[in-house]
Amino acid sequence: MDMNNKEHMKEIENTFEAVRDVSLSNVERETMKKNVRLFMAEHPLKQSRIQRFLSRMRTFRIGLTISPVHIPHVRPAIASLFILIFVGASTSYAAEMALPGDILYPVKTVVNENVVSALAFSEEAKANRSATLALRRLEEAGALVVKGRLTASAREEIESRFEKHVEDFEMRTDLLARQERKIEVAVDAQSFLEAALKAHASALIEFSVVRPETEHELRSILAAVSDRVNTVESARTASERTIAIKVGEDIRERAAAKRRTVENEIAHSRSSARQTKAPQADTAVMTAVTASQGATTTSPAPDLILEALNAGSAKFEEGRYGEAFTAFQGALRAVQQDKLKHNARERLKLDDISGLPSHAMPQEKANKAQGAPVDMIQEDPGGVE
């Protein structure tokens, strides 16, 4: 907040201070109290059968309107278990599909997700769980915008939960990155979340381009995602700088394992593309064609992925295993981003709406997408230095 804003806030607060002095006069307060007492006399208390039953329950107090279940002094995990039993397995299952604004949504977020999170013990598992939940919020935003139900309150709900999950993720990966033997685990998680956030944002931007009326609805969510992409990316880069100077057998093995993962992912991606035979299936190949023609692309080109892979292999041969690891990680991130973007587009039914796969988006629309509120949709070069 700059000085100007501080001055404004001070002025605003001073202004509100004057309202704090407003009060009822004694006569007004007593007159009103008399009226309220009269009303109370006309409407005496009665006790329902449910209340008589509930009053016998000393351990738990259930307020049917104030909050669904109020259980003082009971540990959250036990409370969750209680609610799970209370709402029943079928409700819990049905809640999995609920979206913000649905009756069962609190069951999904408060019960189901907390119960599953409580089962994650290691920092790594907890970080991954937070990443999953953050991405789930973005999927919900996508589902709601497709249905035309992304209201202001749903947006706020999603944004606040999204922020909370990513903050939790960042805190946990930071802890992991401080441990010498866990830093690669931290980078792995950071790299995946970065790719996934970029993929989701890219698909949502594309959606807002083909359905311009949703641009306003998605703007704040995209801005929040953009901020988080930056923080996750910075943290990942910082962790990679530490890994890059690592030497020894341990990092050599980790780099070799990472290369195998990238090769498998690329092979898997090619095989899926061949099986579907849909024109848009091999997005990596098609994106390369588009890129070679100078058109805008929102997915990493396969030649860049291969370049990152080859750069990593060269460093590996030179014995620079730490650098090789980060290069392979970059290639993996690019493959993941491409795959996740494809999935996100499918969920948003983008091909059905626009009639065009992403790589065939007209130049004008693609340009518009690039000029959208977030600057994260450029291709990931795969960490090639």
Binding site: M3, N4, F16, V19, L24, F39, H43, I66, E157
Partner: protein, 190 residues
Amino acid sequence: MGSGKSHRHKKIEEDFLAAYDENANALFRHCFARVRDRELAKDIVQETFTRTWEYLAEGKQIGHLRAFLYRTLNNYLVDMMRKKRPVSLDAMTEEDGFEPADVPELPAEIREEMEEAVRLLSRLDDMYAAVITMRFIDEMKPSEIAHVLDVSENVVSVRLHRGVKQLREFWKERLLARPSTTRVQTPSDT
């Protein structure tokens, strides 16, 4: 209220009247800041208490009475504003809408500041006006606001942040609109 009442009923009545003594002024202040009319604010506060009592009279339980009162008040205000919306709050300008003149004991300077505050609030979106009033006038903590509105603390933080942002914009507009002789000097002016 009859003598044949159970101990439990007596306790509820006592608690409710104690809640009246503790909260009537604060609720009135909150309401006045948002509706800009002293008589209307009194009616709404009274209605808030009678509605809350009706709820209790039906045998239902209230965990946190103060939060419930604020929530009832807020719901009532939102309903009322929604019904009034076609008239447009913008039409309630400084010339015709705000009437604190029936509070003769207030010094002119304070009255002017009050006018300013309620004008600013009236321009805010309802959802932001509620949290800004609770935070800056009722001096409630974000956790308490969250409880009243039945939303998470994060949602309250987001609303506060956006509400303050809107207020700053309105404030800047007012500064620009003021004649230069009366304009409040800011560091950027020097």
